[in-house]
Amino acid sequence: MVCKMAMFMDLNVNFTKDKKTLQNIIETAAHLGYSTVAINYTLESQQKKPEIPKPTSISDLFTKLPVVQGRSRPIRVLSRLTVVATDPSHFRPNAEYKAFDLVAVFPKTEKLFHAACMTFEVDIICVTVTEKQPFHFKRAPVNGAIDRGVFFEIVYTPAIRDSTMRRYTIGNSLGLMETCKGKGVILSSGAEKPLELRGPYDIANLGLVFGLSEGDAKAAVSTNCRSVVLNGETRTTAFGIIRTMKKPPPAPTASEEDKSEERENSAAKRAKMEH
């Protein structure tokens, strides 16, 4: 068996319309040693008619992806949607969510936090870092989320920008650690500029300040992120067993292939309904 080195991931790089900045951030991430990054699109639900953004394809950004330092392999770029929810109706899983590799929810109230931990079909639950946590983390929902394989995310960029935010970040993460004991946490950047990114080992060290143990802090930038990505992959399948996907456009014998695809589709549907 090949022993794999820990792969570092940063699952929150904010999307900007400025292509140059986005390219720059991804190049910096590759140089720092991150093997996977996720571009984050935020869906603010406060507006009257929120528009679900569409992920830009990576081929638009790069013709050749930058190589990860020390791995001689191109970086993997994922897309992620964060739904900011102040009301239960804001989180409506539909086909548009499926265009993203990862789905995160940012619950603003205690009720929503409970629902996000126990029922929402998401991969990541964001923790407030820019203001004081408005509610206490209860043990039941937090344990429920850990059991379901949903991870809590702490973003560190606000802590770099401002010393007041830093206090909230550290305070809120210590509050979370009190309940979750360092399990089920990921650390990510939320960077909007390349200089806001930090190296994976720096973040593993920073995890100690946030109340994680040495092992948990390293897991928060590596193995836990891997679980999140795999969880995201299974979300598009039926129980992680069957996955149906559209065949690539050039289809020579159309009629036959259509039929087989239909059959696959209905099999997956049936599996879902039986659940």
């Binding site: 330092q69 500029k193 920073l206």
Partner: protein, 135 residues
């Protein structure tokens, strides 16, 4: 007659009291002239921001600083490594200009900082890559 050799357990403990860090300051608008004293001042102010006066007082040394590349080597007691490193991570601006401190290497042995395996370049010509070229 000689006695049979008694079981002896040898534990090698890290003899070094210090850790050494090779760090590099990256500024938003490219490099400019910064002296060693200013660089240390930046680190101390980072420590003060995160850990207060007690943090700012704890001993560490800037052994070497190259103003051209803004690269330096720090020496710190093992017990202060986590504090110093986290303070470096959270440094975000220098004189109202965005900056980042990139930690290139950390080691208990100063000699280890003389080379960096990540900067080795594999010789593309040889298929097995057994020949290493130091740049």
């Amino acid at each position: 007659m000689e006695e049979p050799a008694a079981f002896e357990r040898l534990v090698y403990k890290n003899a070094s009291n210090f850790h050494y860090m090779k760090i590099c300051l990256v500024l938003e608008n490219g490099s400019r002239n910064i002296e060693a004293a200013q660089f240390k001042q930046l680190i101390v102010s980072g420590l003060r921001q995160l850990y207060g006066e007690v943090g700012a007082a704890f001993p560490f040394d800037l052994l070497k600083f190259d103003p051209g590349t803004l690269t330096g080597i720090l020496r710190v007691y093992n017990s202060g490594l986590v504090k110093l490193w986290s303070a470096l991570t959270l440094i975000g601006s220098y004189q109202n200009e965005l900056c980042a401190v990139r930690v290139t290497q950390v080691s208990p042995f100063l000699l280890a900082l003389s080379g960096n395996s990540r900067e080795l370049e594999l010789d593309q010509a040889s298929p097995t890559g057994e020949k290493l070229l130091l740049t």
